[in-house]
């Protein structure tokens, strides 16, 4: 078996051992979405018009929720140190680590997004586009968030700091993502927004693992 696939599978297996980590973002994602119909008037078109924004902000918060523990365990157990001194590419390890983080925390969000679509009276015919957008967007958000987690690795109580680092950088993803959902809901051509999201996706996947690796190395340099 390809060693990188093996690494990816091991990471998934470790996460699966702690199912709480898989469930928590999922529950959080549904509860936040469920608060909006309660606080806004569920009748009328207000909810349907707000649905794209609600779903995207909600997804971003759900990704953010898991970030603090992303590298924490590996750091405390000394695994990360082994990665840094190992001759194999740290960038690739980071890439697969974040990919497994995405699979565990964001893929379930994609799978239950049909439920949110029903709750928030988002038109069903836009579901496919919404899910494509969420796929591109959550991967990008995971990588940007992982950078925040890597930069604050050695700090205690880092979640507030991660929020300050991560949220401003992530605004373009949110803008294009929510707009792709709006276009989908109105049955307009969503491709402009999706292409831009895809651009951010490839840009982030290409560049950010390098920055994350540099950030992880800092923690072990001095």
């Amino acid at each position: 078996m390809n060693p990188w696939l093996f690494f990816f599978r091991t990471e998934l297996g470790i996460s699966w051992r702690e199912r709480r980590r898989v469930m928590l973002p999922l529950v959080f994602f549904s509860i936040v979405a469920f608060l909006f119909p309660l606080t806004l008037n569920p009748k009328g078109h207000l909810l349907a018009r707000m649905a794209p924004g609600i779903i995207w902000v909600d997804a971003m918060l759900a990704v953010f929720l898991g970030l603090e523990s992303l590298f924490r365990h590996d750091h405390e157990e000394g695994i990360l140190e082994q990665w840094v001194i190992s001759p194999t590419s740290l960038e690739l390890r980071v890439l697969f680590k974040v990919a497994s983080f995405w699979t565990v925390t964001s893929l379930p969000l994609l799978l239950i997004s049909p439920l949110l679509v029903l709750w928030l009276s988002f038109p069903l015919r836009g579901l496919g586009i919404l899910m494509i957008g969420l796929f591109l967007g959550t991967v990008t958000l995971c990588f940007l968030g992982a950078l925040g987690a890597a930069l604050t690795l050695t700090l205690r109580q880092s979640s507030m700091l991660i929020a300050i680092l991560f949220l401003p950088i992530a605004t373009p993803v949110l803008i294009f993502g929510a707009h792709s959902a709006v276009l989908a809901a109105r049955q307009l051509d969503p491709r402009p927004a999706l292409y831009l999201l895809a651009t951010l996706f490839f840009l982030t996947v290409g560049i950010v693992p390098k920055a994350i690796s540099a950030a992880l190395r800092i923690s072990y340099e001095t």
Partner: protein, 245 residues
């Protein structure tokens, strides 16, 4: 002295500490002069605008501040790059000294912009593309400042903030573009901006003030970098001598 040897010499904090004093003084005087001339030209000599009356005059503070807010971020990004690649201590000190200044310029640009918006647009805040991206830039500055100060070891904080600044520097144009795109889709452009068709009598004070703000920043950043260096190198001989004398 060639540029290369000058660059190598800058790697030495005592050398920088020595030469920054006359340079800082020169910058301070030039900046003060330019700002006074520019303000006189902008607030007294320039005629009132035919539409905005005297309200447009806030532009003489607003535009240079907004320009500086981007310029200072570029300075931080370049210094971060130099620090990470050539491990130059001075570059980190300049970046750390610049970040609060840049945040202050951004805050001034935001405040003057919304003060101008109240009489002109009828509200203090509009989700205008420029306002929004300026606000995001302000948050980025806060992130860089906070990250730099969060670590016990200053070197770790410097490097972490440097990586964030470099990623932020790539992100700033993307943010600007995305916000522009978003804004044109959601609401018609509420404001076409002060285009380059400004009358010369109104334009020259603006250019003078922009140059003045650059020198003002140059003075402040040299002054702050000196204190940063003293703090960071407090246990070295040269710093002990400076503090002692």
């Amino acid at each position: 002295m060639t540029l290369k040897t000058f660059f190598h010499r800058l790697g030495s904090p005592p050398y920088f500490y020595q030469i920054s004093r006359p340079w800082g003084r020169a910058f301070a005087w030039i900046g003060l002069l330019l700002i006074l001339v520019g303000l006189y030209g902008g607030l007294w000599l320039a005629p009132p605008d035919y539409q905005q009356g005297n309200g447009f005059r806030i532009m003489y503070v607003h535009v240079p501040s907004a320009w500086m807010s981007l310029f200072v971020f570029m300075v931080i990004a370049v210094c971060s790059f130099i620090g990470l690649v050539w491990r130059m201590r001075l570059a980190y000190a300049v970046a750390a000294a610049s970040a609060p200044l840049g945040a202050a310029f951004t805050a001034v640009a935001l405040v003057t912009g919304s003060l101008w918006g109240k009489p002109m647009w009828g509200t203090y805040w509009v989700w205008d593309a420029r306002l929004t991206s300026e606000l995001i830039l302000f948050f980025l500055y806060l992130g860089v400042i906070t990250l730099n100060r969060s670590f016990e070891d200053q070197k770790t904080g410097d490097k972490a903030a440097a990586i964030l600044a470099l990623v932020g520097a790539i992100d700033v144009p993307i943010v600007h573009y995305s916000v522009d795109w978003w804004q044109t889709l959601h609401q018609g452009s509420s404001f076409k901006g002060l285009t380059s068709e400004i009358a010369p009598s109104m334009l020259w004070p603006l250019l003078v003030l922009m140059a003045g703000f650059m020198f003002y920043y140059g003075w402040l950043v040299l002054w702050r970098t000196r204190s940063e260096l003293l703090l960071r190198e407090a246990d070295r001989d040269w710093a002990q001598q400076v503090i002692g004398s």
